[in-house]
């Protein structure tokens, strides 16, 4: 059969007449079972080897070959499109909450639409539209937020009444609905045929496709992919792409040097029925009823309906076993609640006859976002997997981004939210994955209110102070496995209430965070910030300085004891990382970056630093507990504890010094706060952490010290207009675009990464500008709150989206941060954004379809500071991370 396939590919006419192609989804694809010899032997070498012949692998092959790569081999252990892809429900849905995922789905839809014409392979593409139902007001709000972002991308989408739903789909029971979202351009496809169409096109472009070929492992030498071992021999290659779907984890672990790809499979069930007496029209829209946990699409005159149940069944935790995908059992008892939801939504289907209950495993990731990108440890090892059951929606776009990544070094969009490097080895425990995906799968359809946290796989990394803080009422969130305090619930508060009332409106922690903010401004607060990534770079000679000067835009040749805020930029001047670097000695530096930079930053430095044994890079994250003392009285607390004067004359801003605090010596004290308030960060060797914390709290009592959490920090940094990497800043944002020119030393006398672009921007201007918006007519108590991702309108025209927002307790207003673009009114072309352009507009922020007036600002309110400082000092410390 493999031979037949290859012949088919070389003879389009003959293949098109072959009926097997069209029936791929409805019938078992097992026509020829006689083992034919493989007609073509594997090549000895190729530029790219792709493992996996599902939608992901074929899409990557398709895009790579289109972008000019010719020497590509695609290996499939079974048959093309025979895994999850074959069983997939074939719904192309663009209604995605994460903007990059939305873009991928949008592109996929456009690609699939023209694929049949391009390849001659029938894809079953049908533009049916989709209707997402809301049974509650909160659900409707979440749909409205998605509708806002679809609309500004030019994707037609409207919020409709239940009556309109009935017009679109006559079978629906609308009595319990409050509204719905209609996306008319969503589509249905035969997913296996889309995959085969992509394979056909790729094959025509020279991609070699080999079925029934298993990859046993990938060979890696000196941190680079060198080849692939298969059951049919070895292929040398430059790039390897792991598109192995549910087997991606195992394949990643099969080699000597493991590549950690945190995916885990769960069983997924959907129902197929015989046609209705009057067969359903194939143009009826797909129905998504997230409150009922189901989706329903028309299928051959009947329906196809599946869902994401509350109690998923994880499988393959121990790795691949005898249970092959094809042999998974139907489990009607498990499907029961979904069937109830289906009959409740479409009571008229009672008499419809069942055809089959399909069990189709899907792979899920720890954060519900898919995984793409290059391995942090093996260059040339790329991954595209973990689609969280949206493989068809993402397939086209994800394949395109990954192909761009291989060809150009980075995709054309910021894909950090999907980057493999957001995970490390710590998310690779099978137990963790098993527990987490059991939470993730129901979350697909759970209502996600702002700031929800995962409940499973918690308390993995903790500060030594965890128990102390927890006992004082800390409420926790997690970042990169590290527990961090959101806020402290004062004794006597109704705890149950706090944990349960989650809302798009004013949250119940409002007053709690307000009092923490107040304390930061008027007295002193302690925030445990131990989760931050900490590296030390040292060398025997001047190598450390030399290389850091090349990798960072600010001037690091500062006197010993100084701290520098600087971006770690790529060739395009965009932020790969945003960090603080302290010069500990002539030849050693201490670098602090955001928590989720641990893997990415390490890989970036490793890839850019020379292989020089005289240059040592060490991850010391685990060695230090970081306590941030924020507030005007931080000086008093610290000087009393150290018997050293800490005033600005003795310990100026952006200064670093090892000193004693209480009995503990060797505490690295830095005069930075991450919020713009006066204060210090103490980097404490972990064995002293409890001692120092106790001393600080005891001594601080008379100054009104209290604990605070990240929500207070967030409010403080946003009202000070401080950008945060990963939220506001990304690889497509330069310092020039966010008012950080002062952190760029174009004239430091040394070439550095991104310098040319920055120079160019300095001369010709920027195409987007980080702007602060103060909401004017927004009622904090009554109106929906902004969170992030809200569209920004200037003079009624869309100009960009917010990237973060918070309530400012000082301004008593909401503050949103976001980027303003200047699109030409006629062509849509991006134009230079000038200060005048920003200042001369009337702005509105769209929160779930409702627009609020906003005032735009390019500089923070300096008058907000309790202790006034000179403006340049403000800007120097004007830097923030979370």
């Amino acid at each position: 059969a493999a031979g037949m396939f290859l012949r088919l590919l070389s003879d389009i006419q003959w293949r098109a007449a072959h009926p097997k192609w069209r029936r791929m989804t409805s019938s078992q694809r097992s026509t020829s079972t006689t083992a034919e010899p493989h007609p073509l032997s594997l090549p000895a070498q190729a530029q790219v080897v792709i493992c996996g012949g599902g939608i992901m692998g074929t899409s990557v092959a398709y895009h790579l070959s289109k972008m000019g790569f010719k020497d590509i081999v695609l290996l499939e252990q079974g048959r093309l499109a025979a895994g999850t892809t074959r069983f997939c429900a074939g719904i192309v849905s663009t209604a995605r909450p994460v903007s990059i995922e939305l873009k991928m789905a949008h592109y996929s839809n456009k690609l699939y639409q023209q694929l049949e014409q391009e390849t001659g392979v029938q894809t079953g593409y049908m533009k049916t539209g989709s209707v997402s139902l809301a049974q509650t007001q909160d659900r409707l709000i979440s749909l409205k937020r998605i509708a806002s972002s679809l609309n500004v991308m030019g994707i037609p989408c409207e919020i409709i009444s239940p009556k309109k739903v009935l017009q679109l789909h006559p079978l629906i029971n609308i009595h319990d609905l409050v509204g719905a979202m209609y996306v008319p351009e969503d589509a249905l496809v035969s997913s296996a045929n889309v995959s085969l169409a992509l394979a056909t096109a790729a094959s025509r472009n020279g991609v070699q496709i080999h079925e029934r070929t298993s990859v046993s492992h990938v060979t890696i030498q000196k941190g680079r992919v060198t080849g692939v071992e298969t059951d049919r021999g070895r292929i040398q290659c430059e790039y390897f792409v792991n598109c192995a779907g549910q087997w991606a984890y195992e394949l990643g672990h099969s080699g000597e040097e493991p590549v950690h790809i945190p995916v885990h499979a769960c069983e997924h069930f959907y129902l197929l029925t015989h046609p209705l007496q009057e067969p359903l029209s194939s143009s009826l829209p797909t129905i998504v009823d997230p409150d009922g946990r189901i989706y329903i699409r028309n299928w051959q005159g009947g329906i196809l309906s599946g869902g994401f149940e509350k109690n998923p069944k994880p499988l393959f935790t121990e790795g691949r076993n005898q249970l092959e995908i094809q042999n998974l059992q139907e489990d009607w008892d498990h499907f029961g609640p979904l069937l109830s939801a289906l009959l409740r939504r479409m009571p008229g289907l009672e008499a419809l006859q069942i055809m089959q209950l399909v069990n189709c495993p899907e792979s899920f990731t720890p954060d519900m976002r898919c995984i793409m990108g290059e391995s942090p440890t093996a260059r040339g090892y790329f991954v595209l997997a973990g689609m969280n059951s949206a493989g068809i929606s993402y397939g086209g776009g994800a394949g395109k981004y990954l192909a761009e990544w291989i060809v150009n070094g980075y995709p054309s969009e910021n894909v950090w939210p999907l980057d493999l490097k957001r995970f490390g080895t710590l998310q690779s425990s099978r137990t963790f994955l098993r527990h987490r995906v059991m939470e993730v799968m129901p979350l697909m359809y759970d209502l996600k209110v702002p700031r929800w946290d995962f409940q499973t796989g918690r308390q993995l990394r903790t500060s030594p102070l965890y128990d102390r803080l927890d006992a004082q009422g800390a409420r926790w969130m997690e970042k990169h496995g590290f527990e961090r305090v959101k806020y402290f619930v004062p004794p006597g508060s109704d705890l149950l209430d706090l944990d349960h009332s989650k809302t798009f409106y004013k949250p119940d922690w409002f007053d709690i965070v307000g009092s923490e903010v107040k304390c930061c401004k008027e007295a002193v607060c302690v925030i445990d910030m131990s989760s931050f990534t900490k590296f030390e770079i040292s060398s025997t000679g001047d190598q450390a300085l030399e290389y850091l000067q090349y990798l960072f835009s600010n001037d690091l040749d500062v006197p010993v004891g100084h701290v520098v805020h600087t971006g770690m930029l790529n060739e395009k001047g965009g932020y790969e990382n945003d960090c603080s670097i302290a010069r500990l000695s002539k030849r050693s530096f201490f670098m602090i970056s955001p928590t989720d930079q641990q893997v990415h930053c390490w890989a970036w430095l490793k890839n850019h630093l020379p292989d020089d044994s005289n240059l040592v890079l060490e991850d010391v994250t685990w060695k230090y507990t970081a306590l941030n003392l924020i507030g005007p009285r931080a000086v008093d607390v610290l000087s009393e504890l150290s018997y050293a004067p800490m005033t600005a004359e003795h310990f100026p801003s952006l200064f670093c010094k090892e000193m004693s605090v209480g009995y503990a010596n060797g505490i690295r004290v830095m005069s930075i706060t991450h919020t713009g308030e006066p204060g210090f960060v103490l980097y404490i060797p972990i064995e002293y952490a409890l001692h120092v914390y106790n001393e600080v709290m005891n001594m601080g009592q008379k100054y009104g010290i209290r604990n605070a959490g990240y929500y207070a920090l967030r409010s403080l940094r946003i009202e000070k207009f401080f950008a945060f990497w990963g939220q506001d800043l990304d690889a497509f944002t330069t310092p020039m675009e966010c008012g950080r020119e002062f952190q760029v030393k174009l004239d430091k006398g040394m070439e550095f990464l991104g310098q040319e672009v920055l120079l160019e921007q300095k001369q010709n201007g920027v195409y987007k500008r980080f702007t602060m918006f103060i909401l004017e007519d927004h009622d904090t108590d009554m109106d929906l709150w902004p969170w992030w991702g809200e569209p920004i309108f200037r003079n009624g025209r869309y100009v960009g989206k917010t990237t973060s927002s918070a309530y400012s307790y000082t301004l008593e207003r909401h503050v949103c941060l976001g980027f303003v673009h200047h699109f030409d009114e006629k062509t849509g072309e991006e134009l230079v954004v000038t200060t005048d352009f920003i200042n001369q507009g009337e702005y509105e922020i769209d929160i779930a379809g409702q627009r609020f007036q906003a005032k735009a600002k390019l500089y923070p309110f300096s008058s907000l500071f309790a202790q006034r400082r000179r403006k340049d000092e403000v800007e120097l410390s004007g830097y923030q991370r979370e």
Partner: protein, 454 residues
Amino acid sequence: FYLTPPQVNSILKANEYSFKVPEFDGKNVSSVLGFDSNQLPANAPIEDRRSAATCLQTRGMLLGVFDGHAGCACAQAVSERLFYYIAVSLLPHETLLEIENAVENGRALLPILQWHKHPNDYFSKEASKLYFNSLRTYWQELIDLNSGETTDVREALINAFKRLDNDISLEAQVGDPNSFLNYLVLRVAFSGSTACVAHVDGVDLHVANTGDSRAMLGVQEEDGSWSAVNLSYDHNAQNEHEVERVKMEHPKSEEKSLVKQDRLLGLLMPFRAFGDVKFKWSIELQKRVVESGPDQLNDNEYTKFIPPNYYTPPYLTAEPEVIHHKLRPQDKFLVLATDGLWETMHRQDVARIVGEYLTGVHHQQPIAVGGYKVTLGQMHGLLTERRARISSVFEDQNAATHLIRHAVGNNEFGTVDHERLSKMLSLPEELARMYRDDITIIVVQFNSHVIGAY
């Protein structure tokens, strides 16, 4: 009048008791994981009794159910005393000596049994001295008889049963100066009780049965299904061997009058029992004891009444039949229950219900549509029914309670019907006995890992 599900539950759960064998060093090294027991009264007061205890001076665990008749006095006495008789019968000579010495010298006594009792299971304080003296006499005789041989469990059980019944009889003949106690020993002797007792020690399971309570082993077959193995024979008219035995023990002339209307001498359902001296003593002895006894006894028509065709007593014995079974890993549990359960449920159903409850898995064939024509509505109905069945399992934390729920509430389809359950439980006292009997159940769960390692 209708009971709500919580009301039904509070009635069903009022007497439930669970015991889990404590783990030692993270492991339970006993072949018994624990047991669940429960009682549902139909008589007021209930005439059934139950006992459970761990032997402290020998290995093993004792569990028993006792179905009293003509009052609860005999069942109560047997439930308090029988296990002591058994434990003592099992004790090695040295331990008996040690205990006797301790009593002789007023030293603290080695504890013999650790009881596992529900708060409603009481012991008679007044009679404890009397009972103790009888027991002591028994062990003194055992010391004198010292055979030097290791104690055989079967023999120990038989001896203990017979000895206790003998003591009950003697105590009634001798009487007691204390009028309360005097009346008590007479009530014990004139009422009766069956006994079904299991002794588990490692893989050795002995069941000693007297009367028509029953012991049943739940066995899980290789395909996961459940089957029942009887570990006792009912001593009643339905048991041919038993009828045969009774006839053998009496002259041929009595053959017709021995068993009438499936009852012994036309009166008694169980063919073996404790107490019931009216079927054991000679007419003269009965008359003498009743006449010299307290007035309450004398006024009682029942005690004065002599069974018809009463020629060659004794007609009744407390001697048990003992069945020994070597536990296998597939033997998952043992059910001891009074006839109140067995009248309403077939043992095969008991095995399945308890088995599925304990494993938490309903061994229902997974539903497969296959080539059949099934509509969404039909499937939905089927699944809803299966869910309801499963949810009734999770309502109960106790296997015995779960079994009672089925015994009382099962409809013709073998599923618990709440309406029926509610009706059965809200019957007025005087009617309850007509629709159901007292039910007492002990479900012992075995530790397959330990058993498999033997």
